[in-house]
């Protein structure tokens, strides 16, 4: 552990900086910001998965009280088609630009009125007719349109002689795993309030990175980024679903310009489901060969995911196969299948979450076949260096996670044979899984001002979507400046604060804290200068090593105990414990909340979540919270989470991100526990009751026997 120079704010549990605002209702989210002369926009969305608009009859809507107008592809302002994301132009940004309907839920028009009720009523009166074209939603590995996924995030693994190692294996497991389309479902629906003034556009928007949204908006409108001002003071959750420049802010910017007044679009929950983004379905085959003594010889992970032709996307399901286990032969094949679906977006633990469900279920199946404790199997195959790349690990405390987790969970007492524990009508089982998630840092710009009153103002274009960024960065700044947290004022959530990475990829905190730490260092060197206020600004773009010599990952070991009622198929998670290696922990109170929350999302994914579509139309059959179930209070036990001592050498303060590692390993741990309880493998998520339900005649009647 490196010595910490300053006040020791890092490492201390501290309630959230903005907590009081949030428990008193004073925190303003994008749809809460008071705004004079506000007009309300209401999206009208398509109901078919592919087709073309034939006509939009707005005559009735335009005659309704309070209606200001309707924007559609015939009158909407033109947007720059080159605007896009990391991968290039993004067709999902080109809203109301032509007749094409690329997926069910695509915005076709925007009705703007004086009140939300008037806008909604007029939207319902819009008459849209379209020509329906055949669509394809059929995700599978063997799909004729399947193509190799982009390798922009790294090459496929291909080491050793896979066929020979499999042939030489005492045990070979080859199984197929499927995960459904899932919805991020942040509690705050996407919302934006946008107005124009003197060639500048101002937006209050719900997103995970105000700066990147400002960049995209500037590109869409072909104006200087400095003329785009995006504020996102409080954001009601994101989980990847608010990473992009969302339809709400694109459409509100069009309407704000067209009607010359502030326009607010607060998406309905149904629109969030059908129009924003989702985690794509996956279809995966994992093949693992092992010796009789539990040494892995071969890992072959194939995974297909769906994407939209509108934009490139990578659901990196096969990453863990390159990291977690040592084996002479490792091969990964990631396949993208272009379909007429809602364009996917990263969702908490992208790739790793569906991917590790497959890989860690398969590992459990290998343990079963070998009659070996699955924890022991994992311990026997830990690599000394990164298996595929050969790089040393910068830090890898996974074995500590497993050991400490096993101790706390009482794993040693487990009878590894399935279907051995009964409590009344219930079957009881336990399972575990491990996983890793890529960590790193991206460029950001931070400014720190030494104020006349002895305080410091720290400004960075960070986002707090519930991660505790404000609180964590306050502690980081305090220590870096050698000041108490009470002397730190932090400003985030505003694109005017400069270039910054967003809250995503488990890289928000590391990216922002790096910039703040660097700025603080420079400021401290100049503090002898009596001039106040004195501001130092640092851009870390040139200070980041993008080709580090070591492999930087976070790790987890998750343990679960479930009960299963075989007569009803009901599965309940009774215990859930996660041990995490995430570098140095900034705020144990908030870090714990975040990994526990991640595990709950993993629990929810394991048991509940599934976007169900009618194959005939591609429309969501359960696009609301009554149909798309996320775990409720009653589904969630008390959850134990802990951090093993860790320090990330690549980070100047020893930090790693922890936003996604909590989710990634949980589904496999629960699925493995369900197998242990019932003796039946669950290779398709979610583990619905109809998949667990048994034909049973078990009406025990001891009194009459």
């Amino acid at each position: 552990m490196s010595a910490n120079p300053a006040s020791g704010a890092v490492g201390a549990p501290r309630p959230r900086t903005e907590g009081r605002l949030k428990v008193t209702g004073a925190a303003h989210y994008a749809a809460d910001v008071p705004m004079p002369d506000l007009a309300h926009g209401w999206m009208v969305t398509g109901t078919v998965s592919r087709g073309r608009i034939r006509d939009i009859d707005a005559s009735a809507a335009l005659g309704m009280p309070g209606v200001l107008g309707v924007l559609d592809h015939r009158n909407a302002p033109r947007l720059n088609p080159e605007a896009g994301n990391y991968f290039g132009p993004d067709g999902s940004l080109r809203l109301l630009q032509d007749e094409a309907i690329p997926y069910a839920g695509w915005p076709l028009a925007l009705v703007v009125a004086e009140t939300p009720e008037q806008a909604s009523a007029a939207a319902a009166a819009l008459r849209v007719t379209c020509d329906v074209e055949p669509h394809d939603l059929d995700l599978r590995l063997e799909h004729p349109a399947a193509r190799p996924a982009s390798t922009a995030f790294g090459p496929e693994a291909d080491i050793g002689d896979l066929d020979a190692e499999l042939a030489a294996s005492a045990v070979v497991v080859e199984e197929r795993y499927r995960t459904p389309e899932e919805s991020h479902s942040a509690m705050e629906p996407h919302a934006a309030t946008v107005w124009w003034d003197s060639g500048h556009v101002y937006a209050e928007d719900s997103n995970q990175g105000a700066f990147s949204v400002s960049e995209v908006l500037a590109a869409l409108w072909s104006i200087d980024r400095e003329r785009v001002h995006v504020r996102s003071e409080h954001v009601g959750g994101g989980f990847g679903g608010k990473g992009a420049c969302g339809p709400q802010v694109v459409l509100a910017s069009m309407a704000g310009r067209w009607f010359g007044r502030p326009v607010r679009i607060a998406m309905t929950r149904a629109q969030v489901f059908e129009t924003t983004s989702s985690r794509p379905r996956t279809d995966q085959v994992v093949t693992i060969g092992a010796d009789a003594d539990g040494r892995l010889r071969a890992i072959h992970h194939r995974a297909a995911y769906g994407l939209s032709p509108l934009s490139e996307y990578i659901e990196a399901c096969t990453e863990q196969a390159k990291i977690l286990y040592s084996a002479p032969a490792i091969r990964t094949r990631l396949t993208a299948v272009p379909l007429d679906i809602l364009p996917p977006a990263s969702m908490r633990g992208p790739g790793a979450t569906p991917g590790s469900f497959a890989l860690e279920s398969a590992i459990d199946e290998v343990a079963e076949r070998l009659d070996l404790d699955p924890l022991e199997l994992r311990l026997r195959n830990q690599p000394a260096v990164t298996p595929v790349s050969g790089k040393p690990f910068s830090t890898r405390r996974l074995v500590s996670c497993m050991g400490e987790g096993a101790r706390r969970f009482g794993w040693a007492a487990r009878d590894r044979r399935p279907r051995r524990r009964r409590e009344g009508p219930l079957l009881v089982g336990s399972g575990m899984a491990t996983t890793s998630f890529s960590a790193g840092v991206f460029p950001s710009k931070a400014s720190i001002t030494a104020e006349t009153d002895g305080t410091f103002t720290v400004s960075i274009g960070a986002s707090d979507i519930g991660t505790g960024a404000r609180t964590a960065l306050t502690a980081v700044a305090a220590d870096a400046l050698g000041a108490g947290t009470e002397r730190i004022r932090i400003r985030i959530g505003d694109s005017d604060l400069g270039m910054a990475w967003g809250a995503g990829g488990s890289r928000g905190t590391t990216s922002w804290s790096f910039a703040i730490t660097e700025a603080a260092k420079e400021l401290r060197e100049n503090l002898d200068d009596p001039v106040r206020p004195m501001t130092v600004t640092v851009d870390t773009s040139t200070r980041i090593d993008f080709q580090p010599a070591t492999e930087r990952q976070t790790y987890s070991a998750v343990f679960a105990e479930v009960t299963v009622d075989p007569a009803t198929g009901e599965v309940r998670v009774r215990r859930l414990l996660g041990m995490f290696a995430v570098g140095r922990v900034i705020n144990p109170l908030l870090a714990r909340s975040q990994v526990v929350g991640g595990m709950i999302m993993g629990l929810s994914m394991a048991l509940h979540e599934e976007s169900v579509r009618d194959p005939r139309t591609g429309r969501l059959a359960n696009g609301d919270f009554a149909g798309y179930h996320i775990a409720a209070h009653a589904d969630v036990p008390d959850i134990e989470a802990g951090f093993v001592p860790d320090y990330e050498p690549q980070d100047p303060s020893g930090f790693n991100g922890l936003g996604e590692i909590g989710t990634a390993g949980t589904a496999a741990a629960i699925a493995n526990a369900v197998w242990h309880a019932t003796g039946t493998r669950q290779r398709t998520l979610p583990i619905r009751l109809d998949r667990v339900l048994e034909q049973t005649t078990a009406v025990a009647s001891p009194s009459l026997r």
């Binding site: 109901t47 009720e117 909604s120 009523a121 319902a124 009344g424 009508p425 007569a567 009803t568 198929g569 009901e570 309940r572 509940h608 169900v612 579509r613 009618d614 005939r616 139309t617 429309r619 059959a621 359960n622 009554a626 149909g627 179930h629 775990a631 409720a632 209070h633 009653a634 589904d635 619905r688 009751l689 109809d690 339900l693 034909q695 049973t696 005649t697 009406v699 025990a700 009647s701 001891p702 009194s703 009459l704």
Partner: protein, 331 residues
């Protein structure tokens, strides 16, 4: 949502008159279902007649040891009422198994009975639905129907009734009281919901304009051991996949009275009368209970993707009867 007029009725007669005089009028209770459907555009009333101020609130004793529950009594108040808990525990359990604390504080007994299906196609105006637009077709039949009916459905509609409370009421032989401008009437719950047939839009036997005023729980069911067991895709705050309300009276090792009603399997609470008949007068052995459960589902006709409900319903009946009879000491 379409614009509408709103008025509060102070007396039943005012409410009846207001609705009789306006074809677009609807009674408004707690609004938990009606307002939701208005937002979806499924319901488009031009007038709401708020009945919550009517003197129809509260729970009273009947001479036969039963109870009368006023139609505007909230679900919460029904469930918490000491006499409901004591005499009809399955009703308390059923009501508490439904929705959430907030919604139960709003929803009324009368409204609960006439709530509409949660079939996704019913609420999706872009899709055909015979219940919403008679003659337009049933999208669920060939579509997503994992959670639809396995009993009593027709090719015109495969939706299920969402109420938990009504399932318990069906098992308890409840009677629905109503008033019209022509006078008062009563309908046993067993005949309250109409068979689906070819007009799934016609859901209840209430005369046009009728206002539900009360639900009567007969004393004959009071004090029976009764249970409501609900299986759903989440531990709480979800509609039933399958539920069962059962009541059992065993004396000297012989079943004197038995009631079995299923939820989540049909367009109405499904009373399993033939299964009850198998058990009445018999010893509640494990085999007999299983046979009874089999009988309850003997007419099941599952759709392409919901056959599991038949197994689930059988298992649930057997387990619940086992629990009530004490033959399953595991429970």
């Amino acid at each position: 949502m379409r614009e509408f007029a709103y008025q509060r009725a102070a007396q039943v007669q005012d409410a009846l008159t207001a609705v009789a005089g306006d074809a677009g009028a609807r009674y408004l209770g707690g609004g938990t279902n009606l307002v939701d459907l208005m937002k979806c555009g499924v319901e488009e009333p031009t007038r709401l007649v708020d009945v919550r101020q009517l003197p129809l609130d509260g729970v009273r004793d009947t001479p036969d040891g039963g109870l009368v529950i006023g139609a505007t009594t909230t679900n919460s108040d029904v469930a918490a009422h000491p006499e409901v808990r004591r005499r009809f525990p399955a009703l308390t359990q059923a009501v508490l198994a439904g929705a959430s604390g907030q919604l139960r504080n709003m929803a009324t007994v009368g409204g609960n009975l006439v709530q509409r299906t949660r079939c996704g196609y019913f609420a999706d105006l872009s899709q055909p639905c015979n219940k919403r637009v008679p003659g337009s077709g049933c999208a669920a039949l060939g579509g997503v129907h994992h959670n639809h009916a396995v009993l009593g459905h027709s090719e015109h509609c495969v939706a299920t009734h969402p109420s938990d409370m009504a399932v318990a009421l069906a098992a308890l032989d409840a009677v629905v009281r109503y008033e019209t401008l022509d006078g008062a009437g009563e309908i046993p719950l067993s005949r309250f919901y109409l068979p689906v047939g070819d007009r799934p839009d016609r859901e209840t036997a209430l005369p046009p304009g009728a206002l539900i005023t009360a639900v009567v729980l007969p004393g004959s069911a009071a004090g029976l051991r009764s249970r409501y067991r609900k299986v759903r895709e989440r531990a709480s705050y979800a509609f039933a996949t399958v539920s069962v309300a059962a009541a059992l009276d065993i004396r000297d090792g012989v079943v004197r009275d038995v009631r079995i009603a299923l939820g989540g399997v049909a367009s109405r609470p499904w009373r399993a009368s033939s299964a009850e008949a198998l058990l009445r007068g018999a010893q509640p052995t494990a085999d007999r209970l299983r046979t009874c459960a089999e009988e309850a589902l003997s007419e099941a006709d599952p759709l392409r993707d919901n056959g599991y409900k038949v197994t689930l319903a059988r298992n649930l009946i057997a387990a619940t009867l086992g629990e009530l009879s004490g033959t399953d000491q595991n429970r």
